[in-house]
Amino acid sequence: MSSTLYVPRDAGALSLGAEDVARAIQHEAAIRGMELVVKRNGSRGLYWLEPLVEVDVDGKRYAYGPVTVQDVPELFDADFLNNGSHRLALGLTESIVHLRSQQRLTFERVGVIEPDSLDDYLAHGGYLGLRSALSLKPAEIVQAVTDSGLRGRGGAAFPTGIKWKTVLDTQAAQKYVTCNADEGDSGTFADRMLMEGDPFVLIEGMTIAALAVGATRGFIYLRVEYPHAHRALTKAIDIAYEQHYLGENILGSGHRFDLEVRLGAGAYICGEETSMLESLEGRRGEVRVRPPLPAVKGLFGQPTIVNNVISLASVPIILAKGADYYRGFGVGRSRGTLPIQLAGNLKRTGLVERAFGITLRELLYEYGGGSASGRPLRAVQIGGPLGAYVPASQFDTVVDYETLSGIGALLGHGGIVAFDDTVDMARMARYAMEFCANESCGKCTPCRIGSTRGVEVIDRILAGVDRAGNVQLLEELCETMAEGSLCGLGGMTPFPVRSALGHFRDDFMKPR
């Protein structure tokens, strides 16, 4: 009888040697004359345990990790295929405390199934949302998404159902559904994990969106830095076409939906929705002036849904289990679950999907285990390079849209990057301006010129030149950028700069 085991092919797991581990396991099994089926799943998101190998024993999955090539012969000696004890043994995967305490809705299948198996997807509740949507009128689908309370997980937190309603109510011969998979924020990887680990859920979500608004064509705008996700999506789309989940007659319903992946080319600004649309049209990713909104006049001038990967991937479960089910998670106006990404200087980095309402401290210490370096945590940046730095004194803040905005921070795409006490916050502020200068599309002056001047002003402060005067100038510059920029790049770069200046002013004033 052959044994079945799982070795992730998530890019993060591969970056830690998962491919070599998979090969070593097969090699060792061959030497020992054992029959093995090695399945390649996504990642559970417990990156401190990657490569995380799971063995299937009587339908239950037991985990071992982090496994190196050198550990493999030992694991066989310990009879790990039958859940034998070993120093890397973690017990039942679903009982690992940092996983068990999560509420995995959007990520329920990620790390569980084989991403390129439609059968696996169907066996784990896949396409129930689409089947439900096919029995509803477009307005009823939109209403379900509105009732669920889902807000855009890309960062802007705009109610998804409201956006869809605008597209539904706008008359046009051609409408589009686009997925913003240009996950450029440092500290975020939820989109990548989902696209690599469960690509069908995104395809299903986009198909439901198309039915809801009457769109027949969709594009996933994927960043070129994600080649693994590109392969996973392309393969899943091909299978979906073959099995009539995409194409001219979806599941015999008479509805058509065509979907393709388009690659970005290393421009951070293309994560801004109008810039993304320009890029999809084959142009420089310069932002458009709004109005008109993309929902009215978007891709090629037609009504267009632009949603983030996680927003779209959350739609199938809403349709499958009902708006009330999804809405039952969360607090206040932040409904449902949030896939939080713990990154940077933490012992236990990875993905934590929980209902809104958890505090930063729980995330950083109970999940994250404190700093990787063993030094005290000094600050975290939430929401990517345009997010504020939050000092340790505010770690009791609840992570939801409204509470964070109450302390001058923002949630963004849910990435949290932790820094220990060796961080130089004046340098991080300078980096924020430098990044903005590097990535500005150049269309508006406050962003294009302001960011370059911002670097220069901070350099003068660091050099000790008229510190008080230059700090004042920096504050005024931030105000100009925040008030006068066309989009979030120039408009939000002041978040990291002002928060660094506000909470860590000593770093700007110390002699260097």
Partner: protein
């Protein structure tokens, strides 16, 4: 034999908004987008040369010079900085004896900055020709580079 750029133009011409796809295909084929290709692309897609040039120069990913045999992309973003990527980058510059956007004199390695590879749970990160590496240390970088040097 037909010209590879003409083949690519034929393949994508009928698509809506095809310029980025064309540029990606050319770079995948040739490693970069030669200056001489600009008029050909413009004519093939009924665009001005300025439009084509504008798009090539807008996107960091598109190269206008031939790359080394291996392109090393090192992440400079915040999560990797929190795990001391600046020290790693100093080591890499020293080991390869080049700065960002440069290629080693023997044509083996090009060094490019990248702003996030989505491997922020395993910082610092780098990618070499699509292969991702996490928790990169100076020693593990040297081992990866030495393996590539042996291959070439």
């Amino acid at each position: 034999m037909s010209d590879p750029i003409d083949v690519i133009l034929d393949r994508y011409r009928a698509q809506p908004g095809p310029l980025l796809q064309v540029l990606h295909a050319i770079q995948a084929e040739l490693g970069y987008i030669p200056e001489q290709a600009v008029p050909q692309i413009a004519a093939g897609l009924n665009l001005s040369r300025a439009e084509v040039h504008g798009v090539i120069s807008f996107y960091h990913y598109f190269r206008r010079t031939p790359p080394g045999r291996y392109v090393v992309q090192v992440c400079r973003a915040e999560a990797c900085q929190s795990m001391h990527s600046e020290q790693l980058i100093a080591h890499i510059r020293n080991r390869l004896q080049i700065d960002f956007h440069e290629t080693t004199p023997d044509g083996a390695f090009s060094l490019e900055p990248v702003y996030c590879l989505g491997n922020c749970a395993c910082s610092p990160a780098m990618m070499i020709d699509g292969e991702l590496y996490g928790r990169v240390s100076p020693a593990s970088f040297d081992a990866v580079v030495a393996a590539r040097e042996r291959k070439s």
